[in-house]
């Protein structure tokens, strides 16, 4: 006889924990729990049977694996969060009593958590980290473009901007960019780094505002993780390709709006200079640290502890990153292993990644420099820009080497000198889409359709669609031909209707047998129809006939065979059929619309 089984001691009841139970178990607030979940990458699970997992209750709750929660219970960050709670209480008490010195010493010994171990846990190998970097890049690029405010400290935005610039520098340096797509949401970039395709979305250069219904705390927690992750990833990428990390920032250039160029990529040998520059910035940021601490001490009783902590944490991190006393034992180790990796990464520079290397571009004022500088330089081109879009342009507007000018404005007639004219004729003026389309096509396209003031050809997604989807470019010719045919057919119908009707009547009779076909041919001749049209009619009739005879029978049979499907199979079959039909309907809808548009155009042309 087996052991008696108690209810709720095994199986789903034990493996799943509801969220409230988890919070109770961890003895932390819901906000802390959320923060832990975000940082540790723990998400709710769907039990197969909710009733079994929730002690017979079917109330809607979210479930977590009990093991996940047990794993959270051992998290050092949880301890730090508890410490922080105690700290917040102590600090607020000290401030309330006006004990400034004790408040200051408390503030100095504030508990701070680090995320290194979490990065290592979540991404045991570098490839794992790279695979998951998409969201991190999106977020960092977004926050780099957000305006700073009380909830979003300027240091945070600065750090995001630095991380995004570092990433761009790396991609440009290794020529890793593969695809670019200008969408209505922003610019999608796809790069291939160490065999991983990484896609990220960058908003257009406008001020984004954070809507009220977005919980910025959640975003900041994610950003905290992402910043740490990205700084580790960048460190690895830079050191692997023999570069110094972090690339030293030229503050003067940065102030002038040099953007990405404010960072200087340096090879690993020149480390002493970076150290010096790092030290100079250290003083400055030390002051900043003190100021922030002061401001935080003032804020403490106003803000909830968790939010406040995130701000501080973030600001601290980025300050660290700004001035890193570089040489360390670890670094020398990594640089020793470098050359081979560097050689590896430099090997696969194929022709397509040097697509723009023979050309020199110039950006006119109205084109967004951050996008096109990145793209062109990632493909080996040289690029200059107008003074108004930032300093540090390597190429002057009147440079004779310029081959392409990227313009995005309508053509305006104006007086020009002979010199200017000569320059204009020597250069090619293209709209920005040309660059992106060239990259996606993997070759230099004709500049003519993209010339200034021209109506652009449609810009298609380089990422492709699902299999069998409507393809705007390719399907055209075939259908066009058919259409032409149809129209041709329509024409004679108008001319001699009677004959056409006769022909159809004649042709409808013949089956596959050659004798009847022969008879029909004779009849057609008698009716005065020429042989060509007769042949076409016969073909058409055959096409029509083939379907009903064999296919209908088959269909009916298979319909009957569906009776013998099991319930599961039938449901699956119906689902598949439904989705297929939906896709097909979408496709046909698009095709029909295209045809209509083409017809309209043709009519307009005729008119």
């Amino acid at each position: 006889m087996g052991r008696l089984r108690t209810k709720g001691k095994a199986g789903a009841a034990k493996n799943f924990t509801t969220r409230s139970a988890a919070v109770k178990k961890l003895q932390c607030s819901l906000a802390d729990f959320r923060r832990l979940c975000i940082l540790k990458g723990i998400f709710p699970r769907e039990p197969r049977n909710k009733k079994k997992a929730n002690k017979g209750s079917s109330a809607p709750t979210s479930f977590y694996y009990t093991k996940d929660i047990a794993y959270l219970a051992h998290e050092p960050i949880l301890k730090k969060l508890r410490e922080h709670k105690a700290f917040a209480k102590k600090l607020s008490r000290a401030l309330g009593r006006g004990e400034w010195s004790s408040a200051k010493s408390l503030e100095e010994n504030k508990p701070i958590y680090r995320l290194d171990h979490i990065i290592k846990e979540r991404y045991p190998t570098f490839i794992d980290a790279l695979r998951d970097i998409d969201d991190a890049l999106c977020m960092v690029f977004l926050f780099a473009s957000l305006p700073s405010n009380s909830r979003l400290p300027a240091e945070l935005v600065e750090n995001c901007a630095r991380l995004s610039a570092e990433w761009q520098l790396y991609v440009m340096h290794t020529r890793a960019l593969r695809k670019v797509f200008l969408s209505i949401k922003g610019v999608y970039y796809q790069a291939e780094v160490m065999g991983q395709t990484i896609t990220w979305l960058v908003p257009y250069l406008f001020t984004q505002n954070v809507p009220a219904d977005v919980d910025i705390r959640v975003m900041l927690t994610f950003l905290e993780l992402y910043q740490t992750l990205l700084s580790f990833v960048h460190f690895k990428l830079y050191t692997d390709s023999g570069l110094v990390y972090p690339p030293p920032l030229d503050t003067k250039k940065d102030e002038d709006g040099a953007g990405v160029d404010a960072f200087a990529l340096q090879n690993g040998s020149r480390q002493s200079t970076t150290k010096a520059s790092g030290n100079t910035t250290a003083n400055v940021s030390g002051k900043v640290v003190r100021q922030t601490i002061k401001s935080i001490a003032a804020e403490v009783d106003e803000e909830t502890p968790d939010v406040e902590m995130s701000n501080v944490e973030v600001s601290r991190e980025e300050e660290d990153e700004e001035f890193i006393p570089h040489p360390s034992s670890k670094d020398t180790m990594t640089t020793a292993t470098l050359p081979t990796l560097q050689a590896l990464s430099s090997l696969p520079t194929t022709l397509t990644t040097n697509l723009f290397s023979p050309y020199v571009f110039f950006l006119s004022r109205e084109t967004p420099r951050s996008i096109f500088e990145f793209i062109v330089r990632a493909y080996g081109g040289r690029i200059g820009w107008h003074q108004s879009s930032g300093s540090g342009s390597p190429i002057d507007e009147n440079d004779p080497h310029i081959t392409h000018v990227i313009v995005d404005r309508p053509v305006v007639e104006k007086e020009e000198t002979a010199e200017q004219r000569e320059l204009r004729l020597r250069r090619k003026y293209v709209q920005p889409q040309w660059i992106v389309d060239c990259i996606n096509a993997g070759k230099i396209l004709l500049e003519e359709p993209y010339a200034q003031g021209k109506t652009l050809p449609p810009h298609l997604s380089p990422f492709g669609e699902y299999e069998g989807a409507y393809l705007p470019g390719t399907a055209n010719e075939e259908t066009d031909e058919e259409e032409q045919e149809e129209e041709d057919e329509e024409m004679p119908a108008v001319d001699d209707e009677g004959a056409a009707v006769d022909l159809e009547a004649i042709v409808s009779a013949p089956a596959d047998e050659p004798t009847s076909l022969r008879a029909a041919e004779l009849a057609a001749e008698a009716a005065g129809v020429d042989f060509g049209t007769f042949e076409a009619a016969v073909k058409k009739a055959k096409r029509k006939e083939k379907k009903p005879l064999s296919e209908e029978v088959k269909e009916a049979e298979s319909d009957m065979n569906k009776m013998m499907m099991s319930n599961k199979q039938r449901k699956l079959y119906e689902k598949m059929k439904y989705s297929n039909q939906k896709k097909q309907a979408e496709k046909t809808e698009l095709e029909n619309r295209r045809k209509e548009l083409a017809k309209k155009k043709r009519k307009e042309q005729k008119a």
Binding site: I38, Y123, D134, L142, T207, N209, V218, M333, P458, F463
Partner: protein
């Protein structure tokens, strides 16, 4: 004290007044300032030696010097002692009891004229006052304020009609109060109404005095009610200040040592810290920058053995529609745009509307950018993730591959002829064992006999009531059929029968020597009309079932043709009967049975008996009289059932559209459940010789299946749908009511609710 005494002895004093100087006494009175409710304060309080206008004394008295007061008093007392002896009976009670009353007496009753009489007892003159009569012209009634109940708590009289008692012990009635409206009008008229308050003693509104008003104002303003109170009085220093210091200690004890010797324990604690600092365990003013975060080669150490968590699913990549300059066909039409906007954001298939901009500089900021990022993050940490295997197969590959119906011929596939019953549903049919004749019965009680090839009616019988069922006897050496009409079963011999067969049939149904009646009398009666009245129109044998059993709705012959099982439904008791023709005996096999029996069947080979109740099928062994098996088809209401000629397979159809195939060797659960009819299944039958079965339904269609059963136990039976026969009309929700196979050919006969009976041929 003097006044009290004076007051108490006032009556005596008044008796004296003739002898002694009355004026002195009066003056003394005035000096005491006895205040009463009366308002003639002036008279009483005037203590200057002016003329007293005391009414009762005017005639005799003159002013006297003040000095004589005390001596006078003393004299009084002396006199009193004498008096007490005189009139003890009068006054003893009064003297102790109420001083106050007498006091008031003294002051109040001065107005009426007193008479001086000589006492009978003491022979002394005494003053007697008249009774107070509260008449209109009396003094007291003319006074302004009559309420003299005294200082008593007025709430004693809250529930009473009066407010106290006057001096004479008479009730003072509560003055009449007007209603609210009067009160209001009074306040309107009176300008000082808002500064007056209700006086309980007086029972009227009295204006507040200026002091009271001031008090109210102070309370209202939150000030001290006492106007003279100074909250900021200068402090009086008692023990501090110049010259008042305490110099000497309070106690003379010596100072303890601890007051002036440094603490040993404190020193120990400090030394502990000092030692820690010296040894470097505590670093004072630790530089903060050491804690700072910096990236390092985190992946240089080997990773832990446990596998990484699954990466989060990546968001879908953008398609052509998201382009800033998409092909024109992607742009939504006006209706699509409206439909998109009308949808809730979470229901939208796409979170954006395709838009076309002629150049890049015209592309605006995307307003939902932050929100979309936020939703992505919510997905990352709040959404449960499910791993799904993506099936990339052709959906048609899911359809089972079955042999083509054309290779499984013959099966009925067209309607060869149709026979019509007029104006009523053709309920039941039966095909003769040789397959040449069909009988069909309708709800009007008409049974028609017709040939299957020709379709012409040969003979018609008309019964009273619905025809419940028909069944042709399976024996080939005799020829007759049973007709079930209300509570009765008729046995009829069709016309044009071979004479040899006819005689045999007649001898079977109506033997000349009846078998002996059973020992126990049966409620079922078997009757045969006399042989001279036999005709083709009348039944040769009739079984009368017990009354109110209902219409026999189902017949089932045993394969030998001797036993006929009938199921009656709709009646009060209903039930199953097994009739034995040779013995002319009927028996009910079940004493009682759970559930309403729908159908019964004889096993084709074994002495088994299938009984279908509403939800279950039970198999009984008739020889051993016990239950073998209960099948669970999982059908809500069984409508039809048939057993395969091999006896190992059973099909059960239900009103809930299900058809269950049971392999009796296998399990109590169906081997296969099919649901292909769109309405209830009405009838099922296996073909006796061909591997076919048919099912008919209320959707008006008949479905033909190929059903091959293998002798090999390992091979599953093969069921192939062959043909859907349509042609019957649906009338009043009923379609094809019964199907029967022709035993020799693959032909099917079906009867419909539209009154038509069709023959389907191959």
């Amino acid at each position: 004290m003097a006044s009290r005494v004076a007051g108490r002895k006032s009556t005596k004093r008044k008796q004296f007044e003739d002898d002694v100087d009355v004026a002195e006494d009066l003056h003394h009175n005035g000096n005491l300032e006895m205040l009463s409710d009366e308002e003639e304060d002036g008279n009483i309080s005037s203590d200057d030696g002016e003329v007293d206008t005391f009414p009762g004394i005017v005639n005799e008295s003159d002013t006297d010097p003040d000095d004589s007061d005390f001596s006078d008093q003393e004299e009084d007392e002396v006199d009193e002692d004498e008096d007490e002896e005189d009139d003890e009976e009068d006054e003893s009670g009064e003297e102790d009891g109420s001083d106050d009353g007498e006091e008031s007496d003294d002051s109040l009753h001065v107005f009426p004229k007193a008479k001086t009489i000589v006492s009978n007892i003491t022979n002394q003159p005494k003053i007697v006052y008249p009774e107070i009569e509260p008449e209109y012209d009396s003094d007291s009634s003319t006074e302004e304020d009559p309420n003299r109940v005294g200082y008593i708590p007025m709430h004693w009289y809250d529930d009473m009609p009066h407010i106290g008692y006057d001096i004479d012990g008479k009730k003072i009635l509560r003055p009449a109060t007007g209603d609210e409206l009067d009160k209001f009008l009074a306040t309107v008229d009176d300008s000082s109404a808002w500064t007056s308050a209700f006086d309980k003693n007086a029972q009227t509104d009295k204006p507040l005095t200026s002091e009271e008003l001031d008090l109210i104002r102070r309370l209202y303003a939150g000030e001290n009610p006492d106007a003279n109170y100074d909250p900021y009085e200068p402090m009086t220093e008692w023990f501090t200040g110049k010259g008042k210091e305490e110099i000497m200690p309070l106690s003379g004890a010596l100072q303890p040592k601890r007051r002036w010797v440094p603490s040993k324990w404190e020193k120990q604690k400090v030394m502990k810290i000092v030692r820690a600092i010296r040894q470097g365990r505590i670093v004072p003013s630790k530089p903060k920058s050491t804690k700072k975060f910096e990236p390092y080669a985190i992946w240089s150490e080997p990773s832990s053995s446990h596998p990484p968590p699954l990466p989060a699913p990546k968001p879908a990549l953008p398609t052509n529609a998201e382009s800033y300059n998409p092909p024109e066909e992607y742009l939504p039409t006006e209706e699509e745009r409206k439909a998109w906007e009308a949808l809730d954001p979470e229901d939208r298939e796409r979170d954006y509307l395709p838009q076309k901009y002629s150049s890049l500089r015209l592309v605006p900021a995307y307003d939902r950018f932050v929100k979309e990022r936020f939703f992505r993050q919510l997905d990352l940490y709040l959404a449960p993730r499910v791993q799904r295997v993506k099936l990339n197969i052709d959906p048609n590959s899911l359809i089972p591959k079955l042999p083509s119906p054309s290779s499984l011929k013959p099966f009925p596939n067209y309607r060869s002829l149709q026979f019509r019953h007029s104006q009523s549903r053709a309920r039941c049919i039966s095909v003769s064992p040789d397959g040449a004749w069909v009988i069909s019965g309708d709800e009007n009680g008409v049974v028609s006999l017709w040939e299957i090839i020709v379709g012409r009616e040969v003979k018609r019988w008309t019964f009273k009531g619905k025809i419940g069922s028909l069944a042709w006897c399976p024996r080939t050496d005799v020829c007759y059929f049973a007709v079930g009409v209300e509570d009765t079963i008729h046995f009829i011999i069709p016309p044009n029968v071979d004479p040899a067969v006819l005689t045999l049939t007649q001898s079977v149904l109506a033997p000349t020597t009846l078998p002996p009646a059973p020992a126990t009398p049966s409620p079922v009666k078997w009757t045969t009309p006399p042989s001279n009245t036999w005709s083709q129109d009348t039944p040769i044998l009739t079984i009368d079932l017990p009354a109110s059993t209902g219409i026999p709705s189902h017949f089932c012959w045993h394969r030998r043709g001797d036993y006929l099982a009938s199921v009656s439904t709709g009646g009060a008791q209903g039930g199953v009967w097994i009739h034995q023709v040779t013995r002319r005996h009927s028996q009910a096999p079940f004493k009682k049975i759970k559930g309403a029996v729908q159908l019964v069947l004889f096993h084709p080979l074994k002495p088994h008996f299938f009984v279908a109740t509403q939800q279950y099928v039970r198999i009984y062994n008739l020889a051993e009289q016990k239950l073998i098996k209960t099948l669970l088809p999982g059908i809500k209401w069984i409508s039809s059932m048939d057993v395969h000629p091999s006896g190992d397979h059973l099909i059960v159809g239900g009103y809930d559209r299900k058809l269950c195939w049971f392999d009796l060797e296998l399990s109590e659960k169906p081997y296969k459940v099919l649901r292909y009819h769109t309405r209830a299944i009405r009838s099922l039958q296996f073909h006796p010789s061909y591997p076919l079965f048919a099912s008919s339904s209320d959707d008006g269609s008949i479905q033909i299946f190929h059903s091959r059963v293998y002798n090999d136990l390992m091979t599953d039976p093969l069921i192939v749908p062959l043909k859907i026969l349509r042609g019957h009309q649906i009338s009043e929700g009923l379609g094809v009511l019964q199907v029967r196979w022709c035993s020799k050919q693959p032909w099917l006969v079906s009867s419909g609710a539209d009154g038509s009976v069709a023959v389907w041929c191959s």
